[in-house]
Amino acid sequence: MPDGLFIFFAALTLGAALLLVLSRNAVTSAMGMILALVGVAADFFLLDAYFLGVLQVLVYAGAVMVLFLFIIMLLDTEDATGAYPWKTAALGLATFFLLAAGVLWLFHWSGAVSPVKAGATPPELSVNPAEFVTAAKAFGRLLYTKYLLPLEIAGFLLLVALVGVVSLSKDNPETNA
């Protein structure tokens, strides 16, 4: 029987995600998304990944979703009017259940993926698996030794994204940018 905390946060996450998918108002969807991300961050905490949890709240739920909200407000999309389309929502939920059943069957009940016992290290893991520690310091050390190259490349990627966004957003009257 899974932990109470886990069930609570799982329910929160799923509910928020449902709000995201089913609400007609874009801002309501954004709120739902933030809540879902907070729920995921909570699950990270439950999995002893504290650093990542904090990161998730700060970066994802914080910066990224705020950006989303800004854009929603900028584009000023009108809300859909009229009665709520229950039929479409039901169709959507049906699709969801179908897909969910498919995914669950594929990964849990079909036996193609075997369950792993807690604490066991699979033999065919990477050459030099990093030891499991929860401290942020250790995390940082890992980043700067074993994963230095991806770190540098990620920095470069952020630079490129920055340049790309600035050039895409240039408000140039002659060219329809």
Binding site: L99, G102, L106, S110, A112, V113
Partner: protein, 615 residues
């Protein structure tokens, strides 16, 4: 010793290829350089061939296998027997002097580089045919020679006539080559090999040889050597520059067919030989008469070539391939001289080719005239000149073999030869000048007259003597043997025929054609006969066939193609399947709705996941 000589052959074969490549790639603009390069190479090959001729006492062979399919081996190699050695020398020697002549003749031509590259590639091709030791290699070089000829005839490609003539030559040759390749296929299926030596053994062992083999291989000979019915291209090929006509269409390429027939003479059934003999003799007589109705000097010589090719074919048909080769060698010398002389005359008269507008050139161009007359006399088989040895031997062979009809035709041919020769001499060199250009004619430069002297005087006159001294005894055994079989004495029928033709024909023509000035005497006296001889009957026949029969058939086939292949196969099947599937895939899928695309992506990846993981 044999290995030394086979390396000689490598040089002989590949030097001109090198010259051609160099000229084509780098020397297109530097025409003069290309000219001297080709000429130098040609003389080098001539020297090497002479060395080969004088030092080889046995067959020289060399072979490398290129591919093996099943039990059949295809390779590249040389078989230099007596025939090959003689032919190598004749071809390269005549070609060398023609190259020298071209240097002077083509001096003002801006496309000299291309011309000499063409000459060099032609040398490579013809020498390849001579040295080849199997049918496939012969065929490949056969086609190369056809290509070189096409390229060179169309040297003045901006003239429609020249371009059309080169196409005609190539296409008519192609028709013959169809038979050739069928013959090769048949050889392969019957005997399992394409090697000449091996085929010879097979043929000796077999009781009878199927007629079809010889008949099909003969088709190539008909095309290349302009025999009936594929002779129509040779006169039009005169549209090329005169050296081309001299080299290709008089001395070497057309003789390649004769050489080939001699090479595979053991595969020719008696019926095939009979056909060749009769058609050759007939062509000899007919062409000789037609030469009387041509006013263009080159066309007249072309008909003369046709006549001589007929004589060569006849010799093969009579079962004496060595005599044919011997005549081919002699003919190469004096015909080349005649063509070069014509070139010199044309050059001197500022590109005037009509004989009726010439005249009195004996005084103005003495050297050209002397060599031309010497070669003509050789043509007429005046005793002890080169042409006499070979031509009379053939007439003699016909008589001794009791082939009366052939003997008659050949006699008629001899008479005709003397007639048109006399006519030519009279119109061109004797009498008074008939035009402005002729009266201002001057002798040609040394590059043009030296070849004339060498080829004309030296070899037409002294060929026989020289041959005996420099060629090792017994190395050209088959030819000497054949000559020995046919004995000469003054009372022999061939000599009688020859002398009669000379007196009646030659001197008669000299007199007759002097009677009318500025026009053809025969045309004046008997226009009906003239028209009969002048009209291109065979071409008319082909024209009718193409227009009435071939065009109808091809239009019908085109209609079928449009209806069945285009209509049914392409439109229905090619259009129907997409139309049916398109209803499912085209219309509904590609409406541009991104959500639908997303759905398909999802479904596709689910399928993929199932496929990879759960299966």
């Amino acid at each position: 010793m044999p290995s030394d000589l086979s390396s000689l052959v490598h040089w002989i074969l590949f030097l001109p290829l090198g010259a051609a490549v160099l000229s084509a790639l780098f020397l297109r603009r530097a025409g003069g350089l290309a000219a001297w390069l080709s000429t130098g190479v040609a003389f080098a090959i001539a020297g090497l061939s002479l060395k080969l001729l004088t030092s080889a006492t046995a067959d020289v062979t060399w072979h490398v296998e290129l591919a093996k399919f099943g039990g059949v081996s295809l390779g590249f190699g040389y078989l230099i027997d007596a025939n090959a050695r003689l032919m190598l020398f004749v071809v390269s020697f005549v070609a060398a002097w023609i190259h020298l002549f071209s240097v002077g003749y083509m001096k003002e031509d801006s496309a000299r580089g291309r011309f000499f590259a063409g000459l060099s590639i032609f040398m490579f091709s013809i020498l390849g045919i001579v040295v080849a030791d199997n049918l496939l290699m012969t065929f490949i070089y056969w086609e190369l020679v056809g290509f070189s000829s096409y390229m060179l005839i169309a040297h003045y490609f901006d003239k429609d006539y020249a371009a059309a003539a080169s196409k005609k030559a190539f296409i008519v040759n192609r028709v013959g080559d169809l038979g050739f390749i069928l013959g090769i296929a048949m050889c392969l299926s019957l005997y399992g090999t394409l090697d000449f030596a091996a085929l010879k053994d097979h043929a000796a062992a077999a009781k009878t040889i199927p007629v079809a083999v010889g008949a099909l291989l003969m088709c190539g000979f008909l095309g290349k050597s302009a025999q009936f019915p594929l002779h129509v291209w040779l006169t039009d090929a005169m549209a090329g520059p005169t050296p081309v006509s001299a080299l290709i269409h008089a001395a070497t390429m057309v003789a390649a067919g004769v050489y080939f027939m001699a090479r595979v003479s053991f595969l020719l059934a008696p019926q095939v030989l009979d056909f060749i003999a009769i058609s050759g003799a007939g062509m000899a007589a007919l062409a000789g008469l037609c030469a009387l109705a041509q006013t263009d000097i080159k066309k007249s010589l072309a008909y003369s070539t046709l006549a001589h090719l007929g004589i060569m074919g006849c010799a093969i048909g009579l079962g004496h391939p060595e005599l044919a080769l011997m005549h081919m060698a002699m003919h190469a010398f004096f015909k080349a001289t005649l063509f070069l002389g014509a070139g010199s005359v044309i050059h001197g008269c500022h590109h005037e080719q009509d004989m009726l507008k010439m005249g009195g050139l004996l005084k103005k161009m003495p050297l050209t005239a002397a060599t031309f007359i010497a070669a003509t006399l050789s043509n007429c088989a005046v005793p002890f000149l080169a042409g006499w040895y070979s031509k009379d031997a053939i007439i003699e062979a016909a008589y001794h073999g009791d082939h009366i009809a052939i003997f008659a035709f050949l006699s008629l041919a001899a008479l005709a030869t003397c007639l048109y020769s006399g006519r030519m001499i009279r119109l061109v060199f004797l009498g008074e000048a008939n035009s402005e250009e002729a009266s201002h004619a001057h002798e040609s430069p040394w590059t043009m007259t030296l070849p004339l002297v060498v080829l004309g005087l030296v070899y037409s006159v002294a060929g026989g003597f020289l041959a005996h001294t420099i060629i090792p005894a017994g190395s050209l055994k088959p030819i000497e043997h054949a000559l020995g079989e046919v004995a000469f004495h003054l009372a022999a029928p061939s000599t009688i025929v020859g002398l009669l033709s000379l007196v009646i024909g030659f001197f008669g023509a000299l007199k007759f054609y002097g009677t009318v000035r500025g026009a053809d005497a025969l045309q004046v006296v008997s226009p009906r006969t003239y028209h009969l001889l002048e009209h291109r009957w065979m071409d008319g026949l082909y024209r009718w066939y193409v227009d009435s029969v071939q065009r109808r058939v091809s239009e019908f086939i085109a209609f079928l193609d449009l209806l069945i292949i285009n209509g049914v196969a392409v439109r229905w099947i090619g259009g129907g399947v997409p139309a049916v599937l398109g209803y499912l895939t085209g219309r509904s899928f590609h409406r541009g709705q991104t959500r639908a695309y997303a759905l398909w992506i999802v479904l596709g990846s689910l399928f993929l996941a199932w496929f990879l993981i759960a299966r």
